[in-house]
Symmetry: C2
């Protein structure tokens, strides 16, 4: 088995395992107690906080441990918004933030706050000027990830931090994907991260809040973790998280170069060995281990199953693989194809031969899925006025695009075809197909059944 | 070293350690993913949920794992209150709940809700009739611990649950101290618990919400744990928690009998070997492993240090040992002495000879502390009208009581003595001393400096 989904969760680093085992016997007691076992637990906790703070680039008393990266984000966003409530209730996020940030923003909006989502370009990056333009007099908090979790694109954090600083607005950086590779550059005010993304154990997040940032923790508190993260500290896991962060940092430069070479290989070779593929994300300003591509006429879930059977664990932002049946908000915001989407995220230590094997297996897996889907019950097709109509109502992605591709040859150049569909993914995938195929996407219209997506044949 | 503070945190049970190690290699992946590692993690999580639900006495889909018992309480209280917001915003708690419950109640009150605290008797138990009397038409939620964490007294949960059921009010039971010993009897609606109290790892709480209970999770959610506990699941720790719960339950009946015999011994022998001691908590309806007593004229922190030096780790509800410098709200609500307070909570497996050694060491440790404190700079004493006045302003507990004890012999029977003090603990300890000594506590009066506590000599 080759596990290529490190962006979801990395396998436990050997140093994390060692540190966890060692501190199970030393770190189980209550660090608030005065007796020997408590003092020992307190020493372990203090040492872990110092090590983590050094890796983050902050003071130990600016950093608390939370039960997960998600909770670090939730508590960081809520605390910073409440701390600056007098300034206003405006929150800025990028359109491609992790769902934990977007969920926190939804709660803020439901509570009467306002939220601006800053758009991204086709590579998934925000434009620092556009981000700066969203800052207002009543902006309480701005959020920006250090790098995107689905496509690996790095965000211009330092520039955005500078604009926020000039406007007097704190910037919260979700560093979940990048902290193992290095500290976040620039003048951030709050930072959140998650240990299991760098090979630490589950159950540990970090929240750093710089001195001077107004911060009012929300919800019931207790005396633990400076009143910012209630509940008994999970010290063995915290020790393992800090130790493994230090360990992966020591290997980071070398491993980054190695993984970048491997993902460059995938970026270059996939379009050569698989027809009708779009590689997404920024080609250069990106995390070393992540590469994402989408395959036309492919159902993401079936492709994942095929790859799993072939021994590869990857993930997908396609609608068919998520419980909500909507395509990834990241791919949507980038305006790229979401169907047949595959994210490959290599854990440190990935061997070149496993990547080569993946590149061997992939074309066959894609072809197999396409073959299965190539013979669906043909969608009803009828002439209506001068336009060909494809009726794909009730059919799930990628069928609407497959049916569109089948008829485009019958459309006279300059003529249009109307695709009727009610799968939400079609709204994203039909324009993306047009862009890839050099056809013109005219737009969508309401229809008696579903929505009509109008495409003009250009060539 | 003898660790006698299991009620804070129990050392890791060998079964928890084994299960944790085994699942570090199998349970690190994202259980929401479709590939092999994800499916394996999902299977572990499902099996742990089934085992935990069986031990709790609920359906697996009624139970979610949270990052701690504290978070289980916070999220349980907030979700149940929000789910019944239309009924009203009245919350009932007992006066001796764990601070996590009281903190959740404070937040509710700060948000405009109302809270009734049901008083307890001198043993720490609520009266079911008094609890039932607090139920109102606008009561959204009632909370009651299964047993008290400081004195071990068991609460009449089944009777209170029946009253709540009759009134149509859900009852949340904080079962943190008792779940390792057995399921909570009676018709509770929500239940919270904490794995590290039964020998499971840190980082795992349980929240059970019975089907049919209106529940609206608060704060940002995600798709994990039925939307009730956001953030990546800590599966190795969850597996260890469930496995160790099953293991301690298998040993519970036998171990409960053994520990009860040991705590009975402490209850009986401490007053015999240490003068001026009050053993608190219910003598019979109590947890097997907890026994708590308070020593007159003793500073809790110094006594804990002495016992730690002698090799015993215990905790204290005395004001001097907490960061807030106020005595335990539990001892306060019970109206018992808080000074020189010691809680002994025996972990399963405690050996009888260690208890015997504790009983040997204790009298000397107490005597040593008393000797040190017995020669404080004498407080100014003056006659004012017909009353003796002891000026202990600026002196910390237990000095005010020590000074009171020194002068009571000088007071004519029927006469009064006024103790001037500004330590908050005096408000609790002077009446408690009167009760123990058969003197009459007349009451308190404002004074130029501090508060005047008036005591009448009866005998």
């Amino acid at each position: 088995m080759s596990y290529f989904d490190a962006a979801s969760a990395a396998p436990l680093h050997p140093v994390a395992r060692q540190a966890l085992l060692a501190s199970l016997d030393e770190g189980w007691a209550d660090p608030a107690r005065l007796y020997r076992e408590g003092r020992r637990a307190r020493m372990l906790l203090d040492a872990a906080r110092e090590a983590a703070a050094e890796a983050v680039g902050c003071r130990p008393d600016e950093l608390v441990f939370t039960p997960s990266g998600t909770r670090a984000v939730h508590e960081g966003v809520a605390g910073a918004l409440a701390g600056r409530r007098r300034t206003g209730r405006h929150l800025i996020v990028s359109a491609v933030e992790h769902s934990s940030v977007l969920h926190a923003a939804e709660v803020h909006e439901a509570g009467g706050g306002t939220v601006t989502q800053v758009a991204v370009d086709r590579t998934g990056a925000v434009d620092p000027a556009a981000y700066a333009g969203a800052l207002r007099a009543d902006t309480a908090l701005a959020c920006l990830q250090s790098a995107n979790h689905e496509v690996g694109t790095e965000q211009p954090v330092a520039e955005v931090a500078e604009a926020c600083r000039a406007a007097g607005v704190p910037l919260l950086v979700d560093a979940a994907q990048s902290l193992g590779w290095g500290p976040v550059a620039g003048g951030w005010s709050l930072l959140a991260a998650s240990a299991h993304k760098w090979g630490g154990p589950s159950g540990v997040g970090l929240l750093a809040v710089r001195k001077g940032v107004r911060f009012a923790p929300q919800g019931p508190a207790d005396e633990r973790e400076s009143g910012r993260a209630p509940g008994f500290e999970n010290i063995p896991a915290i020790v393992a998280a800090a130790a493994s962060l230090r360990a992966v940092r020591a290997e980071a430069a070398q491993e980054a170069a190695r993984l970048r070479e491997l993902t460059d290989r995938i970026r270059a070779r996939v379009p050569a060995v698989v027809p009708d593929v779009e590689v997404v994300g920024h080609p250069a300003r990106r995390l070393p281990g992540i590469v994402t591509f989408s395959c036309l006429y492919v159902d993401g879930e079936t492709l994942l199953h095929e790859l799993d059977r072939a021994g590869f664990s990857v993930s997908s932002g396609s609608s068919c693989t998520s419980s909500t049946l909507t395509p990834s908000h990241v791919l949507k915001a980038m305006g790229v194809l979401s169907e047949g989407n595959v994210r490959v995220s290599l854990p440190p230590g990935t061997r070149a031969e496993d990547v080569e094997r993946f590149l061997e297996v992939l074309p066959e897996a894609v072809a197999g899925v396409r073959e299965k889907l190539g013979a669906p019950a043909p969608a009803a097709r009828s002439r209506q006025e001068d336009a060909i109509v494809v009726d794909a109502v009730g059919r799930r992605c990628p069928v609407p695009v497959i049916e569109l591709a089948k008829v485009i040859g019958d459309v006279p150049v300059g003529g249009t075809v109307r695709v009727l569909a009610d799968d939400e993914a079609a709204r994203l995938d039909i324009p993306a197909w047009c862009e890839m195929r050099g056809q013109e996407y005219v737009g969508e219209e309401p229809a008696d059944r579903g929505t009509a997506y109008v495409v003009r044949r250009v060539s």
